[in-house]
Amino acid sequence: MEVGLSHFLVVSTALFSLGIYGVVTRKNAVMVLMGIELILNAANINFIAFSRYGNFGLNGQAIALFVIVLAAAEAAIALAIVLNIYKTYNHVNVDEIEDLKE
């Protein structure tokens, strides 16, 4: 079977499911962030696959570029928040953090 659009979609759904699994099962906030990165990568594979096999020109690739920029901004802000959580609680287990402010 020749590799086509559905092969890329299968890879991306698997990556998306693994990312969701990471987000819902891991306690460590940094691990949750890694799960989110996996999800964003899965979405990007979809955008670029449809950009190649659909009739959209380069629009899909441009949006994938924007997703990468947003992922970088999100990672920076989220890690700053995680550092603050660590300074307050001395751990970063998301299931034990219940207060929004001290």
Partner: protein
Amino acid sequence: MELYDIIFYLFAAITLLSAFIVVTSKNIVHSAFNLLFTFFGVTGIYVLLGADFIAVVQLLVYIGGILILLLFGVMLTNRITSVDIRTGTVHIIPAVIGIGILWGALTAIIAFKTNWIVKPADSMEPTTVGLGNLLLTDYVLVFELLGILLLIALIGAASIARREFEELKD
């Protein structure tokens, strides 16, 4: 089987195996380093899809930027030398069941049940010129907004992470 197919399966295997290790490994440092192989595999998939510029950006931003940031996050939030850096997991069994159903449903519906209108893949050409034109014509507003967003994110991250030091000085 053509060479293209073999390379696709190779990169797909790298991506999915290392992503599996990322979400299941107990050691967070192992997770972070396996994330490198995941991003690398995704880069290969981008190249196979003819997105050369996106692939290079993925290498630079994800592997060179976000992964280093995540490693710093691991380093600064775990006492690597004293306490073991294992991380716990919660709700494994419901998660496995739920994600299994989600994955099966998504794969079945999206990839096999839907008849996508597929354009025959054209020959791969450099995309940088086209992307540059799009960024400064159709998407120029988004482009400018993203620049402002990155500036805000930079200032916000610095000020959030510095707040504690200022309080310590008082």
